[in-house]
């Protein structure tokens, strides 16, 4: 029983933080932030041939990739320079926007 309480509490905490990060950026602001990616990655993240489509990519995958670019954990031609221009909160909002585009 104690364990159930613990995991319930953990779950509540998790959803609270997810809720907080989703609320941190206004949806229209998130749309505009994501649109700054569209010049290369296509309108709403639906890319033409030769570029990675972002639409429908799970949020955690996109966030991890952007943070990896930001910290230099993965090599890039340009994304390491662009990722450094966006805050972690902005990256989370952008990733949520593209994840919701199926």
């Amino acid at each position: 029983m104690h364990r159930v309480h613990q995991s319930l509490a953990a779950l509540l905490l998790l959803s609270a933080s997810a809720w907080a990060s989703a609320q941190a950026t206004d949806p229209l602001q998130a749309r505009s932030l994501a649109a700054s990616c569209a010049s290369c990655h296509g309108t709403d993240g639906r890319a033409q041939a030769g570029m990675v489509s972002l639409a429908g990519t799970p949020q955690d995958v996109l966030v991890k990739k952007m943070l990896d670019y930001k910290t230099g954990r993965i090599p890039a031609t340009i994304m390491h320079q662009l990722a450094k221009g966006y805050s972690d909160e902005q990256i989370t909002a952008i990733a949520a926007y593209f994840a919701a585009k199926k």
């Binding site: 290369c40 296509g42 033409q48 031609t77």
Partner: protein, 425 residues
């Protein structure tokens, strides 16, 4: 519901389209009207995104004199010989078919900011609730008197608006004898596309290295040094194009002798060349000046960076190369595309009584081809600074390629097809 069905439904009656526009500021509940003047990277993007982001509830008319969009980025490859005009040309029809933008092929001759109307060359008049003006640049040819001689500008080309002059310059290089000199002159910054002239020099040199190896490329730059990606371009000139390209800074063109194909400079000796490519100083497109919007040095249009609304006229938004830029903001197609979206979001918000985004963040990416395959880039991220009321680059972001490489050549072409689609499809 698919997007196209939605547009059709919306165009049948106004009811479907205005559902999301209950806060509409327009009089009498009519659908708000946005006119976009100029179908380049800024205007075409704004037209599409105002439609999309208003759920197709705002009427958008795009007025553009050209029948199709011809891209300045990649156009230097036509001059170098590795791309055709067809490959840099995109029709406008998807803007109307997919997004319901009304297309008017005409030129705006006058704007009346008080009556909120524009006059077309064909004679008719259109009214607007908000006007988005993306007029590009025009040339201050008057500072180079020789260029006003009859026919001078048919011989001495700028080829700085992609189109007939792009191909004409290519033909001049083809007609030039081996052992000839191609001279390109660059005005003091700011001008459209900072790295463009240096890329063009590379493309001419590439063509010469293959077809006429005794020929030379002379770059005569009014600036103190190469204004964009200096180390990368200089490396291309000293390594790849050794003996072909010569760079000379601090050369201010003051006149040109068209018949004698001779450049005259403020401080340097006259210079004769076989093909002259003169980029005169630039300013906002003429229609902006005529409307009294070019308030910075009588050259560029000052705007509010949250909305792109002109500081000189209400309800007129100015985008792209025509604006007085923020610090370190280049006049580029990519940047104009980003202006277009920022402005579209603001225009939709203003016409529907919503709050304008208080913190725009966007980026610039610029690829330059140093050969037909290898590319160097410069990138930056720009964020609104509320205290300074301008866009500033985000500290630590941005940068250039470590070296010219083919992978970025691949990405550069993918960038082009993606931004053309984002702007026009």
């Amino acid at each position: 519901m698919k997007r196209r069905q939605f547009i059709q439904a919306a165009s049948v009656g106004s009811s479907a389209g205005v559902l999301g526009l209950s806060g509409c500021a327009s009089v009498g509940g009519a659908r708000p009207k946005v006119l976009v003047v100029g179908g380049g990277y800024g205007g075409a993007t704004a037209a599409k995104y105002v439609r999309m982001w208003s759920d197709y509830g705002i009427d958008v008319t795009l007025i553009e004199p050209n029948a199709a969009f011809v891209s300045c980025p990649i156009s230097n490859l036509v001059i170098g010989g590795s791309k055709s005009m067809a490959e840099i040309t995109t029709p406008y029809d998807n803007l109307s078919k997919r997004h319901g933008v009304k297309l008017v092929q005409d030129r705006v001759t006058a704007i009346d900011p008080d009556k909120r109307t524009v006059k077309l060359a064909a004679g008719s008049e259109l009214s607007y609730d908000r006007l988005i003006l993306s007029p590009g640049i025009d040339f201050m040819s008057e500072v180079i008197p020789g260029l006003s001689q009859p026919g001078a500008q048919d011989t001495i080309l700028h080829a700085w608006k992609a189109g007939p002059q792009t191909l004409a310059l290519r033909r001049q290089l083809e007609a030039m004898p081996d052992g000839g000199v191609f001279a390109i002159t660059i005005p003091l910054a700011p001008y459209r596309c900072p790295p463009g002239p240096y890329e063009r020099a590379c493309q001419a040199a590439l063509y010469f290295s293959k077809a006429k190896p005794k020929s030379k490329v002379l770059i005569l730059d009014e600036n103190d040094d190469v204004t964009s990606k200096p180390a990368l371009f200089k490396k291309a000139w000293t390594d790849r194009y050794k003996g072909i390209v010569e760079y000379r800074p601090k050369h201010k063109v003051v006149d040109v002798d068209v018949k004698g194909r001779t450049l005259k400079f403020e401080f340097n000796d006259d210079l004769k060349a076989d093909v002259l490519n003169v980029l005169p100083p630039m300013r906002a497109g003429d229609i902006a000046s005529r409307t009294g919007l070019a308030t910075a040095n009588r050259r560029w249009c000052e705007v509010d960076f949250l909305t792109f609304e002109s500081k000189a006229a209400k309800n007129i938004h100015v985008l792209g190369d025509a604006i007085q830029v923020a610090p370190l903001m280049p006049k580029s197609g990519h940047m104009a595309n980003q202006h277009g979206k920022t402005c579209a979001a603001a225009v939709v918000a203003l016409l529907t009584g919503k709050a304008v985004n208080p913190l725009p963040v966007y980026n610039n990416t610029c690829y330059s081809f140093v050969s037909d395959k290898e590319v160097v880039h410069v990138a930056s991220v720009h964020r609104y600074d509320a205290a300074k009321q301008t866009m500033l680059t985000v500290p630590g972001s941005g940068g250039v390629s470590s070296a010219a490489n083919e992978l970025e050549g691949y990405y550069a072409l993918a960038w082009a097809s993606n931004i053309w689609a984002d702007t026009l499809a």
